[in-house]
């Protein structure tokens, strides 16, 4: 039997029971690898359930820095009886199976190509610890200790992590360290030499941090000056608001009296959540909400109001697998069209696509600026994979000289000085963006009536066909202005002469980049463009037109990003073959390679060494 033998390049899959306290143990493992300088990518594959159903946690260790889900696993830590056999059978030949040997495995576990790593977790735990609740948690820590030995990890990294975690509660550090030692010593004594997977310290992480995108967005919104939040709990967006609130408790409390410089209202539904945001923005406060697909469906009405009455709003959509309730704890990029064109009538909204926690942080603040500059709702499209999983990310920075862009707002003095008649919807600058006022600014100048009904340039109600159409055309002009303000695409040219390109957004990025590396190794050279915003810059269409074929890689069934590209620019749809992944798990490089190669083969377009180019 050939055991899988690899250093700093493998996947461990933990199989746990939801609600059994496994998350902190599994995080500890991932964090320890990260602290050994090895790029790591943990992904939580969890059920829509609080307690009892199976949950998995996959940790990809990659010295080459590939952070996408790899697919498959080399070592299973199987401590969930419900899925034990499946976790065993899904192992590749040469894989490893760590299990709780307090109970013997049944006869079904008879593979000859799998190395068993039996550790009597329950027995070790119950012998060492009295407290029943602690036993449950510490059993998980014991397997982390065992892994440390099996994988040759630096044990002190783990013990230090525990000490740091329980710095304020030293009583808990002791039992955790004891549990680590129990597992470590058992594996060292009984399983030495059985595992050929190793972790070795390298300098592969640098300055980077390990954090989830939702926390990053919440912090970014705080830095960006959001003061009003309306929200309704929905997976996977809830932790955005929790993070925002946590940082508000830290940074937004007045020293004198302890009052808070923020208003967070948990709304009755997503319609009210966005209503709160729109009302606050109308009144001059920066406001945002976070939601997911079902929330976007409900917000459609108010997104149309925001578009037509020209009111800022920031909506973070942490996408999950739809349609309907779908798979609430699985990931997708399937709300692209629903977000871009949300609401009835002719509407479209700027979208931002963060691909890592740094961009979640930055785009939160940027979206607040953009929404006020453009006086329109701006949607940020994250997803469960980015939002809820810890992602390796460049650290966040903040330029203290940065000033919030509050857009075109007339102050009391501006109104005083103004000679010409002011109109709320009068496009004096020719960029489609008009000047607004906040309520209460001036005793007799600058008041106006905001309405979702058709209005003239002075915000008076009108049903005049010409005035209505002129107003709609001005909104189109504003859309052109938006194009110049949203973050541009990121280009990665491998070969100017290659006829092939690829376009992707958000969490498809890591897998796409890895796939393009793998294809390049096979001689298939593909240039890449990562989109960061909608409306699409002209550069996007220049990129498409400069290639014969551009693969659009995305995580939904209906090729929504491709549809948007075709709809919004002058491009032949035949130029844009799709690479689609929509099973609810994060996309892998393998999926992308397989689909691209299949397409090239079926179209006989595999570029040869010297031919196949334009």
């Amino acid at each position: 039997m050939n055991n899988i033998a690899r250093t700093n390049d493998f996947v461990v899959r933990f199989a746990n029971v939801n609600g059994s306290g496994s998350a902190s143990a599994n995080n500890l493992f991932a964090k320890a690898i990260f602290r050994m300088g090895v790029p790591v990518s943990p992904k939580n594959i969890f059920p829509s359930n609080i307690q009892g159903l199976p949950t998995w946690y996959e940790v990809r260790v990659s010295d080459r820095g590939y952070l996408a889900r790899r697919g498959g696993y080399d070592l299973a830590v199987a401590v969930n009886g419900q899925t034990l056999l499946r976790d065993y059978l899904d192992l590749p030949p040469g894989g490893y199976f760590l299990y709780d040997s307090t109970r013997e495995l049944s006869a079904d576990f008879d593979r000859k190509d799998v190395t068993l790593l039996p550790v009597p977790l329950t027995e070790l735990c119950n012998t060492a610890f009295e407290h029943p609740k602690l036993r449950q948690l510490l059993k998980n820590i014991i397997y982390v200790g065992a892994l440390a030995s099996l994988l040759d990890m630096e044990f002190t990294v783990l013990t230090e992590a525990v000490e740091r975690q329980y710095a304020k509660n030293a009583k808990l550090a002791g039992p955790n360290i004891k549990a680590l030692e129990l597992g470590h010593d058992y594996a060292a004594t009984h399983l030495a030499g059985r595992c050929q997977l190793k972790v070795q310290r390298i300098d592969g992480v640098g300055e980077r941090i390990l954090v989830d995108g939702n926390t990053a967005f919440g912090l970014g919104a705080l830095y960006g000056g959001a003061t009003v939040v309306g929200w309704y709990p929905i997976t996977p967006s809830t932790s955005v608001i929790e993070a925002f609130e946590k940082y508000c408790r830290k940074f937004r409390v007045e020293e004198d009296g302890g009052r808070r410089k923020v208003a967070i209202l948990q709304a009755e539904d997503e319609m009210a959540a966005l209503g709160i945001v729109i009302g606050a923005s109308w009144n001059g406060a920066r406001a945002f909400t976070a939601t997911s697909g079902p929330g976007i469906s409900l917000m459609n009405e108010l997104l149309g109001l925001g578009y037509f009455a020209e009111l800022p709003a920031v909506v973070l959509n942490v996408q999950r697998a739809g349609p309907s309730t779908g798979m609430p704890t699985r990931t997708q990029q399937a709300d692209i069209l629903a977000s871009a064109y949300a609401s009835h009538g002719d509407t479209k909204h700027p979208l931002l696509f963060p691909s890592d926690p740094l961009e979640c942080f930055e785009m939160a603040a940027d979206a607040l600026d953009l929404a006020e500059r453009l006086q329109t709702p701006v949607l940020v499209l994250s997803d469960l994979d980015l939002g809820m999983n810890d992602n390796l990310s460049p650290p966040f920075t903040w330029d203290d000289s940065r000033r919030y862009d509050r857009g075109k707002v007339l102050s009391h003095d501006d109104l005083e000085r103004r000679q010409e008649k002011w109109g709320r919807y009068l496009d004096v600058d020719g960029d489609g963006i008009c000047y607004r006022t906040y309520p209460g600014t001036h005793p007799d100048k600058g008041s106006y009536f905001t309405r979702g009904t058709s209005h003239n340039e002075y915000s008076g109600y009108t049903e005049d066909n010409v005035i209505y159409q002129t107003g709609m055309e001005r909104l189109t002009k504003k859309w052109q202005t938006a194009k110049t303000l949203v973050p541009g695409p990121v280009l990665a040219m491998r070969d100017d002469a290659s006829p092939l390109g690829a376009i992707f957004v958000g969490t498809s990025t890591a897998a796409a980049c890895e796939a393009l590396d793998l294809l390049a190794e096979k001689g298939i050279v593909i240039n890449a463009m990562r989109l960061r915003a909608f409306p699409f810059a002209d550069e996007v269409y220049r990129f498409i037109n400069a290639h014969r074929q551009v693969f659009v890689i995305e995580q939904n069934r209906d090729a929504q990003l491709r549809t948007l590209l075709v709809n919004e620019g002058d491009v032949d749809p035949a130029k844009l073959p799709s690479v689609l992944h929509f099973d609810g798990l994060p996309i892998t490089a393998t999926t992308i390679c397989t689909q691209i190669e299949a397409h090239l083969t079926s179209n006989r377009q595999l570029p040869t060494q010297d031919g196949g180019r334009r």
Partner: protein, 350 residues
Amino acid sequence: MSSERPVFRHPQATKNSAGYSRKDYEGAISTLCAGCGHDSTTNAIIQACFELAIEPHRVAKMSGIGCSSKTPAYFLGRSHGFNAVHGRMPAIAAGANMANRELLYIGISGDGDTASIGMGQFAHALRRNLNLNYICMNNGCYGLTKGQDSATADRGSAGKKGEPNPYSAIDLCKLAIELGASYVARGFSGDKQQLVPLIKGAFAHNGLAFIDVISPCVTFNNTSTSTKSYEYVREHIEATNTFDFIPLQQEILAHYPEGTSQEVVMHDGSIISLHKSEAGKEVTSRRHALDGLEEEKAKGRLLTGLLYVDPHSVDTHEIINSTLRPLNTLVEADLCPGGAALAKLMDGWR
């Protein structure tokens, strides 16, 4: 279409203590049907604002959709207004109020807007005790879509279409009291004497003040078979109390024999002085208020007046302990912790 009023101002027009004449509180000319109850309600709002010398630009007018929700265009033309979408006025008003706690918020809604499509938002504005003056112009029907029954139409009542309403009616005042409203009143658009002080009391109240104004629809629901017609309401109205509203700055001039009046000191120091018709109900008792509504209903009477008030009411801003400064005035220095604090946070993620 709305049209502007002529700008002519009578030079001798009486001015209030803020220097505004009554005309300064008017808006565009109403486009509602002649005789619409809503126009009378609008006038009562103008009168209340004028008499209280409220600065027009410190008022924000919020509304949903429907005939009633059009009326913010017809009063306080110097105030910002927001005619939103159907049933969503409370949330938008909540956001606006969170952004600036210093303005006076008047929310105008109707029975369709409040009792049907916006029922959820109505309920939650009440339980949050948003500092909002929520005026529902209640005519028991959908005027803009030509007279369908609304959820406040009494069972058996029939409008112009002639079909008696088969469903039970929602009593918005009872509901508001149940849901935790801190100021609940019912008025009649045809009784300005009563309505103006009800509105003034609402303005002085710290928290959600709900006024259900029975406001007949002359076009679709003013028939002899309707319980929301001018005639029916006039014949069946029962005032729980008459009262004076005495603003903070003003001296109490009227004196009533002991035992015949109840004074309620409002949050801002204003006084509501109630003259009880009989051995009256305690206006600060939620249970008495509900009993009163039930008892009059059993007699086929419609109880109006100030039904319930909690003078110690605490509004949303107090509940969430938000800063006394308007949030929309805070700047980078107040809001952004800066680069050094961020660098420190990074260490926690390494």
